[in-house]
């Protein structure tokens, strides 16, 4: 079978279609899976992305040439037929399906199967070759539905309403997911760190129902945050920005929080297990459902997943990409 997509210095390259998927260096044509910074990089001449990804991409990369595509609607790039399919990772996140002469490859980008109220659900795309991420490819990682985790956050917030409650999480995807999943339990206003303002607005424009928000920076200096929920990126932890909260209780929302040691190491009091990547079972389930004959694995614990799949008789190869998955 022809190698439709190959690893080059600039990224994953499709020669038949003369385009790159999520390149890490500037190229002529870049097909983008989603808006996270390790996948969407600046400097390319022409971008292609899913319609719901485009506003996020513009926000992140500034003025770019980008063509917007509907879900599942194929478009021609040179000799190949390309289409976007939801990956369930963040809003607008896509798997890229590439077809040439009946040979079908799917690059998953980052993905998950756990239901998420803030983005389009994952869709299985049958293919010959599947390129999968492996961020959480260890069997100790298994996620609960977002609504269960949201309930835990809600309970934690209510257990002590004498202190401000700060949940640290990534500004794109995770913050909006919390705002959307928590809507089942409350209608209280959540207070945001500045870095989350614009991204949250873009989610709202897209029609994702979320809790009302206000910016911490917009409030008077003496505003009392006791009993309030505040969302901030991990970089704000132990920064000067924290000074305005009196004795806050702190938590980190991430898949890494599954392991007690990781939580302690981060210096957070509480950990909420909330991931935008597939857990061990979802990875294996997805790989099986695509019915792919060959699997390429990228970033994460691809070594462990590769051994497991090979022992099950699958053909697996590793790809050394520069994607980072979810940072600890």
């Amino acid at each position: 079978m022809e190698e439709l997509i190959q690893l080059t210095k600039k990224g994953l390259y499709c020669a038949r279609g003369d385009f790159y998927i999520d390149p890490w260096q500037p190229v002529e044509t870049a097909v983008i899976t989603h808006g996270h910074s390790d996948h969407a990089r600046t400097g390319s001449k022409q971008y292609h992305a899913s319609a719901s990804c485009v506003p996020l991409l513009r926000h992140r990369l500034g003025p770019i040439h980008v063509e917007s595509h509907e879900w599942g609607k194929p478009f021609q790039l040179s000799e190949t037929k390309v289409s976007f399919h939801p990956a369930g990772h963040i809003l607008g996140s896509a798997q890229v399906r590439v077809e040439h002469n009946g040979n079908v490859w799917v690059m998953s980008g980052d993905y998950k199967r756990t239901p998420d109220a803030s983005c389009e659900p994952f869709e299985v795309v049958p293919c010959d070759v599947f390129i999968s991420e492996a961020t959480f490819a260890l069997p100790v990682y298994s996620w609960e539905p977002g609504e269960v985790t949201a309930k835990k956050i809600f309970n934690w917030l209510h257990q002590d309403r004498t202190r401000p409650s700060i949940v640290f999480c990534y500004a794109l995807g995770k913050a909006q997911r919390i705002l959307a999943e928590m809507k089942r339990y409350t209608d209280e206003t959540v207070y945001l760190h500045g870095s989350m303002a614009e991204l949250t607005k873009l989610y709202r424009n897209h029609g994702i129902p979320m809790l009302p928000t206000e910016l911490v920076a917009d409030l008077p200096k003496d505003f009392d945050f006791s009993g309030k929920l505040i969302l901030a990126p991990p970089s704000a932890h132990r920064s000067v920005w924290m000074k305005r909260f009196k004795e806050p209780q702190t938590a980190f929302a991430s898949g890494w929080m599954q392991i007690r040691g990781a939580r302690r190491r981060g210096g957070y009091e509480k950990g909420f297990v909330l991931s935008d990547h597939a857990d061990w079972r979802e990875l294996i389930q997805t790989i099986n459902e695509t019915k792919a004959k060959k699997i390429y694995l990228t970033h994460g614990r691809e070594d462990v997943l590769a051994r497991y799949l090979r022992e099950k008789g699958l053909e697996v190869e590793l790809l050394r990409t520069e994607y980072e998955g979810e940072q600890e």
Binding site: L138, P139, V140, Y141, S142, E144, V148, W156, D160, R163, E247, Q249, Q258, I259, R260, G261, R264, R265, G267, E269, K270, G271, D279, W280, R281, R301, V304, R307, Y308, E311
Partner: protein, 543 residues
């Protein structure tokens, strides 16, 4: 199990003292007295029962679930704890009960501690134990499985001090905390006490070998009030031995260490020295320090260590390392509890209790009169010559309080010895630090006949850096590894650290020929180059 797991989770996920106490009170409010007793004993680590080892737990899990061993090993390396790895894998396999589902056979903590867990020891084969465990695991959530695994392997720990547990009990049941603390002292088993006895408002006569909770001191450096008046303070040498109470009651003698261990059996010679106390009226309790005293000279802690852990020391060992005692305080005399009296009065009783003692091995701690703070510092600087590790500074009017209460007892230790050493090896920590390089080996320079300088390992240290530094160093270690030997990485010799320690001794077991006591990292010397680090000769000069 559900309520106890919840308590564990609440204690584990807050750093606020108030919230910890609140969580404890919530638990004790709803728990049965039996469960409360077990919870107290487990939280204060008075008991830990290991019915199986972690290695056995792993084997049982692998056998019962036919799990691939390599995959378990990969998982363990990420998690760093067998009990937790097994819990997470069981959840991933779908064996654990989902958090959202209620348990069908919820058993109390008491049932687990008195029936189920001990029962496991009756099964001989891994298969049988696996069958039993699997049936338990299936009705527990992953968090509960983690707690059960910890209880079975004797590794249950939680971030709460004895003091907070006592405070919660005292506040909830309105009993003075001193009383609760006293009742818990020396308890080793659930059969030693009942929960009602712990929280009883009445005075209950405790077992005759019961020690009093030890009064502890704060660090002098943390003192706010800086004036000094010579008649207020009793200044004594702070010795580095085993802080202990000699208890004479009912015509019997015991020695209890501060670690709440009955160490009478290890020191039959000391019991013999205290023989005159036994025949004194009613009860006498003396607080002091067990030390090795040879020809009137107090030996180092290393000498004392040779006597520790020996159940029945041989006559040769006793002769080689003769035990002695420096008495600090008298807590009970003629059956009267003296702890509320001021120190100056208790010292009088101490003299009375020991007045007929003719032996060189037992002394009353000398009280120095110190006129001002300069004199205090001068005296402190003479600690090493006097076999002491610093000074104890006690207010003459102070009662003997429970634990570490502020204000009247201070310790003022000598500054540690320090050397600048180069980091040469790193090893991953254990438990919660399993995926971080936190165990370090440091080296000093030595010069051979041809003047060639090499680094010789000198001390291992685990503590002293803050979390940010540990993370930074961990990153540096990963990028500057020269070689890996199993879990150990040898590193490029670049980073210099100031290492503090309490003393240096000759040792043939170490490559450097030296052994250091209590080494710890004082500072990361970013300002120093490896060639600026100290040499072995400098260390030898400290012998």
């Amino acid at each position: 199990m559900k309520a106890f797991t919840r308590l564990f989770d609440e204690l584990d996920s807050t750093t606020s003292t108030l919230e910890k106490v609140a969580a404890l009170k919530r638990y004790f409010k709803q728990a049965t007295t039996d469960d409360s007793l077990w919870a107290v004993l487990l939280l204060t680590q008075k008991i830990s029962r290991r019915v199986i080892t972690s290695a056995t737990l792993k084997k049982i899990f692998l056998t019962a679930t036919e799990y691939p061993e390599w995959l378990m090993t990969e998982s363990y390396e990420q998690v760093g704890d067998t009990a937790e790895t097994v819990a997470l894998l069981l959840r991933s396999l779908g064996y654990a009960r989902p958090d959202t589902k209620e348990s069908e056979t919820e058993s109390s903590l008491t049932e687990w501690m008195t029936n189920r867990i001990p029962q496991l020891a009756n099964f001989q084969t891994l298969e049988e134990q696996g069958d039993v465990l699997l049936s338990w695991w299936k009705d527990l959530s992953a968090d509960e499985i983690f707690i059960l695994n910890k209880l079975m392997t004797g590794g249950f720990r939680v971030g709460v001090s004895d003091k907070l547990v006592i405070r919660a009990l005292s506040e909830l049941f309105e009993v003075p905390s001193d009383r609760v603390a006293h009742r818990l002292t020396g308890v080793k088993n659930a059969s030693d006490i009942t929960f009602s006895e712990i929280i009883s408002k009445e005075e209950i006569t405790t077992a005759s070998n019961q020690p009093y909770p030890f009064c502890l001191a704060h660090s002098w450096a943390s003192r706010v009030d800086q004036d000094w008046s010579s008649e207020d303070w009793c200044v004594e040498w702070k010795y580095d031995g085993i802080r202990s109470q000699i208890i004479a009651r009912d015509q019997q003698l015991w020695i209890w260490s501060r670690g709440e261990q009955d160490i009478s059996n290890s020191f039959p010679d000391l019991l013999k020295l205290f023989e005159p106390l036994r025949t004194l009226n009613d009860g006498t309790v003396i607080d002091g320090e067990v030390l090795i005293v040879k020809d009137g000279h107090i030996e180092s802690f290393q000498e004392l260590q040779k006597r520790l852990g020996r159940k029945k020391p041989s006559p040769a060992v006793m002769k080689e390392n003769p035990v002695g005692f420096v008495a600090y305080d008298c807590l009970e005399f003629e059956g009267q509890d003296l702890r509320e009296l001021p120190l100056q009065d208790r010292r009088k009783y101490l003299k009375r209790a020991l007045k007929n003692f003719k032996t060189e091995q037992i002394k009353i701690s000398e009280a120095h009169e110190v006129k001002n703070l300069d004199e205090l510092e001068k005296l402190r600087s003479q600690s090493r010559e006097n076999s002491a590790e610093g000074l104890m500074i006690k207010h003459w009017h102070s009662p003997y309080t429970v634990g570490r209460k502020t204000g009247s007892w201070w310790k003022h230790k000598i500054d540690p010895l320090t050397l600048d050493a180069v980091l040469i090896y790193a090893q991953a920590g254990t438990g919660r630090r399993a995926n971080l390089y936190t165990d370090y080996t440091f080296a000093l320079w030595t010069e051979d006949k041809d003047g060639k300088r090499t680094l010789v390992p000198f001390a291992k240290a685990y503590s002293g850096l803050d979390q940010a530094e540990i993370d930074e160093l961990d990153k540096w270690i990963r990028r500057h590894t020269r070689e890996k030997f199993g879990p150990v990485r040898s590193l490029e010799a670049q980073q210099v650290f100031e290492i503090g320690f309490e003393g240096v001794l000759r040792s043939s077991r170490h490559k450097s020929g030296l052994a250091v006591r209590f080494p710890r990292i004082l500072r990361w010397r970013h300002d120093k180059k490896p060639e600026d680090a100290d040499s072995l000769e400098t260390a030898e000069a400290l012998l």
